[in-house]
Amino acid sequence: MKSIQNIEEEIVEEFSMFDSWIDKYDYLIDLGKSLDILKDEFKIKENIIAGCQSQVWLHAENKNDTIEYHADSDAIMTKGIIALLIRVLSNQRPNDIIDAKLDFIKTIGLEEQLSQTRANGLKSMIKQMKIYALAYKHN
């Protein structure tokens, strides 16, 4: 299993190849499109993370000692970032998820995507991912 740190470094490396925002956004759109489909049974009200403009659904499962995340959004750019977050945090141990600083988002120049004003639910999604980790840890 790769550590969160390793995966973040991989992503930073991938993004360092893009020298224009268009390439970066194109890549995010592709990631968004290839994100595993969230089954309809999980696209329920209880799993909605409210963002004002784009909605996010998040579902988490306990697998052995790790947590597996599944998520979706109605906006493709949001989905692209979700794909990155899942790649970093899914199948990791609760403690590591809770401690993750997720600095890569800033390094690859997407921190504006996490600002509250973007109203896309991503910031709340990270919080919710950590809350799940905290909950599983205490189970």
């Binding site: 194109d26 759109i29 493709i76």
Partner: protein
């Protein structure tokens, strides 16, 4: 014609290495340089509280504050200066009136609003109804995004005490036939408030000709400063309304047994207002009056038609709000593309548009959509900017498909 862009310094802004194209004018317009200069001048040379001091600065700021009131009065052709109440904005104006009506309405009374109202013209009336037991009636809209006037005729009756309708819809662009609505309401003995937030800078408003009872708007959508708004009301009606907020400025005499209230407009202007903002607002009105709203409207109509045609030529675009009588506001959806994604990519290309529900969730529900992308034009926008926007939009659609 001198380039109007030159008068709006912020339009020189570079966004992501592109020249800013500002198409979010329905949310707020940019500020004319004379407005900005006046604010600076006020705080540098004139700042003082108004109506209270005998000293030089207080005299000066009071005089200028009252000159703004006269400018607004002339701008909307009110009969008296004291029919102009300064507020914080449209929302504040509507809340002021709704709060006063909360004290005079009874159970069994009815208020009529429409399905296309901004949340600011919905929630205060819901609160008013909750407080009084009055009933809220909603005029539906048609597929074109127009008020269903036949339905309005069915709803309005002797029970109707107030009709509160928007002059121009901020999400659909529809210009409503308010004169007809005012006449029909008056025939039934109802008073009328018109929400002019989207109208005052874009169509001529003559409150006496309209015979409207109350009219409100925000300075910031008229090339003026934020935090300033207007509530116009007919003298007789305002005199008979109970006061709104209590405090300084709005009293005649205060004793612990009984306080008597000041006369209009002070009765509704408790506390220290946004003095610098109100004074600078006059510069925006001067700009509108000098340029002439009709002249601006002609240009904006041209932009509206040009952009509508260009958008209709793009596959998958659906314009929401297709009334024949529209202001320069275009809401649209693009098949299979989320408005949020579109807004993000256009922003990267320097184009500022608005995405979402535009504080009109009932309209989104009516059209069964989560939100729209909206472009809205002002006098300083150009067809060249629309050309660039259309190119950017096509590029964004290509990226997202």
């Amino acid at each position: 014609m001198i380039d109007p862009k030159k008068s709006f310094p912020i339009l020189e802004t570079i966004v992501n290495e592109n020249k800013l194209i500002y198409f979010d004018n329905a949310a707020t317009t940019q500020k004319h340089h004379s407005v900005i200069d006046e604010i600076t001048k006020f705080y540098n040379k004139e700042n003082s509280n108004i109506h209270r001091g005998v000293h030089y600065l207080s005299q000066l700021s009071t005089k200028k504050f009252e000159e703004s009131r006269v400018a607004v009065k002339n701008f909307i052709n009110a009969k008296h200066n004291h029919e102009i109440i300064f507020t914080r904005g449209t929302t504040d104006s509507i809340n002021l009136l709704a709060s006063c009506y909360s004290k005079i309405l009874k159970s069994g009374d009815e208020i009529i609003i429409s399905e296309m109202e901004h949340h600011s013209n919905i929630v205060p009336w819901q609160m008013c109804c909750e407080n009084t037991g009055a009933k809220l009636k909603i005029v539906p809209i048609t597929e074109l995004g127009e008020l269903d006037l036949n339905e309005f005729k069915n709803l309005v009756s002797s029970k109707t005490k107030l009709v509160s309708i928007t002059h121009i819809s901020n999400s659909l662009g529809t210009i409503n036939p308010i004169k007809k609505i005012i006449n029909l309401s008056h025939e039934n003995g109802a008073k009328v408030l018109i929400d002019g937030a989207q109208a005052a800078a874009h169509v001529n408003v003559d409150v006496q000709d309209l015979n409207v009872d109350y009219y409100c708007f925000s300075a910031h959508k008229l090339y003026g400063p934020t935090g300033v708004g207007v509530l116009y009301g007919k003298e007789d009606l305002l005199n008979h309304l109970p006061p709104y907020q209590g405090g300084g400025e709005m009293i005649q005499e205060v004793t612990f047994e009984k306080t008597t209230y000041a006369c209009l407009p002070h009765k509704f202007e408790a506390g220290t207002p946004n003095i610098g903002g109100v004074i600078a607002f006059k510069k925006a009105i001067d700009f509108l009056a000098e340029t002439k709203v009709e002249t601006m409207k002609k240009h904006e109509d041209h932009l509206l038609n040009y952009a509508t045609e260009s958008l209709n030529n793009i596959n998958g675009i659906r314009i929401i709000g297709t009334s024949k009588k529209k202001s320069a506001i275009i809401s649209f959806t693009v098949e299979n593309i989320h408005h949020y994604d579109l807004g993000l990519i256009l922003d990267k290309m320097g184009v500022a548009i608005r995405t979402g529900h535009h504080c009109t969730q009932p309209v989104m529900k009516k059209f069964n959509i989560a939100g729209t992308s909206r472009v809205s034009f002002a006098y300083y926008n150009t067809t060249e900017e629309i050309d660039y926007f259309i190119l950017a939009l096509k590029k964004a659609i290509k990226m997202l498909s």
